[in-house]
């Protein structure tokens, strides 16, 4: 029996180790604090291990990121620090990601470094940010994001579009500030 338990933990650890960078990265991008991210990631791993026998065996990464997301929503959200650049009330107020009449495929953001992109992402309101992180960084499908965040697919789609639009504005500002693009470009 003890051996069985040990094998079970080994199997869980093998799976969890592979996706842990995603778990920790998502936790860090959500909490924006290394200390809180460590707590959140550890708690998510513990919760996942305790629920391991209920995992259906399909998509471990989506399953564990769902746990991270739910934990974050339930426990860490109160400490929200994100400056609100847009709110859920105008979630459906769609605006294009692109600026009218701009040159397509300009490779505007190639010069930006990772920390600048992370900072810009951190300024996106958290519901939109969560959708962008899960879709564009973690590669989850709309359905998986809908399951993880417990919202309909339609909401995921609009949050994603809105989140990308806000992020692009932020990135453009950074690029402009750094002189990678000039005003009016």
């Amino acid at each position: 029996m003890l051996l069985g338990k040990r094998n079970q933990r080994d199997a869980f650890e093998r799976q969890a180790e592979k996706v842990f960078p995603s778990v920790f990265g998502t936790a860090l991008r959500l909490t924006r604090s290394r200390e809180e991210a460590e707590d959140l990631a550890q708690e998510a791993i513990v919760r996942a291990y305790e629920a391991w026998d209920r995992f259906d065996g399909s998509n471990f990464k989506a399953w564990i990121l769902r746990i991270v997301t739910n934990l974050y929503i339930n426990k860490y959200r109160q400490k929200q620090r994100t400056p609100q650049l847009g709110s859920l009330e105008d979630e459906n107020a769609m605006e294009p990601t692109a600026v009218e009449n701009e040159e397509p495929d300009r490779k505007l953001f190639d010069e930006l470094v990772g920390s600048e992109v992370e900072e810009a992402l951190g300024k996106v309101p958290e519901d939109f940010r969560l959708a962008v992180i899960l879709s564009d960084i973690e590669g989850m499908t709309y359905q998986e994001i809908a399951d993880a965040t417990d919202v309909p697919i339609g909401t995921v789609r609009s949050r994603l579009a809105r989140g990308r639009a806000i992020l692009r504005k932020q990135l453009t500002e950074y690029a402009r500030k750094e002189g990678f693009i000039k005003h009016g470009e």
Partner: protein
């Protein structure tokens, strides 16, 4: 068609083949939609290339440590849960065994316990004639008791219980060398602080509150004779008291 959102869905590969054809057509015919398509791809590409996973080896080690602790706790809980009845049983047996052991050995009698027994005084024989003395001894101490006529007189006595619940009777006797006390305890038991007496194999010797005493047992009773005189003399007096 929901314009911008569908452009995003196209980039995310979340459209059915039919929807994809429609959106592609829309992008082809709408310059702003084309711009949007480029913009979405650009944002996605920036996130994929610039947002690398942070270093997290130490945190993972902490996680594995916590998992080990959880397993350890679960093992203990499972063991206790499964064998709780056995653990309780062992405890009860230990407690019972200890109680039994204590009853069998812990209550071993010492000579001073005899002196500290609480006794209710009983009246002395009506007279010191050998018959009355013998009758008194047989009535109050032991039915089989005989005493050589004229050697001792009985001046009083008492009856009571020892700390272990056994009955004890006492006769305060007098002979030419002074006072003697004879105790009779029902049922023989080991008395811990006595030693064999050289030359008197049927007696053991000790002291009761610094007064010499000798012990012997007979027919299931324990006899103790105490007096402020040498052990030898006590043995000689005891020889005159036939307890058969």
């Amino acid at each position: 068609m929901n314009d911008w959102i569908d452009v995003h869905a196209l980039v995310d590969d979340e459209l059915t083949p039919e929807q994809r054809v429609k959106v592609q057509e829309y992008i082809k015919n709408t310059p702003q939609a084309e711009l949007e398509w480029y913009a979405v791809r650009e944002v996605k590409a920036v996130l994929v290339t610039k947002c690398v996973h942070p270093e997290c080896e130490e945190t993972w080690k902490l996680c594995t440590k916590r998992l080990q602790e959880i397993d350890k706790t679960k093992r203990v809980e499972s063991f206790v849960g499964r064998y709780s009845w056995a653990i309780c049983g062992v405890f009860i047996c230990v407690i019972g065994g200890a109680a039994f052991f204590n009853r069998m050995t812990g209550g071993s009698l010492r000579t001073n316990d005899v002196a500290s027994a609480s006794l209710v005084p009983i009246s002395a024989p009506r007279s010191q004639t050998p018959d009355d003395v013998q009758k008194w001894l047989q009535d109050n101490l032991s039915k089989t008791m005989q005493v050589q006529p004229g050697r001792v007189s009985v001046v009083g006595g008492g009856q009571g219980q020892l700390k272990d619940g056994r009955r004890i009777a006492e006769a305060v006797m007098q002979d030419s060398d002074g006072e003697l006390k004879l105790f009779v305890i029902e049922k023989t038991s080991a008395i811990s602080d006595v030693e064999p007496i050289e030359g008197h194999s049927s007696y053991s010797g000790g002291t009761i509150k610094d007064v010499n005493c000798i012990l012997w047992s007979n027919q299931g009773n324990e006899y103790i004779l105490a007096g402020d005189r040498p052990i030898d003399q006590l043995c000689r007096v005891a020889d005159t008291l036939s307890t058969h």
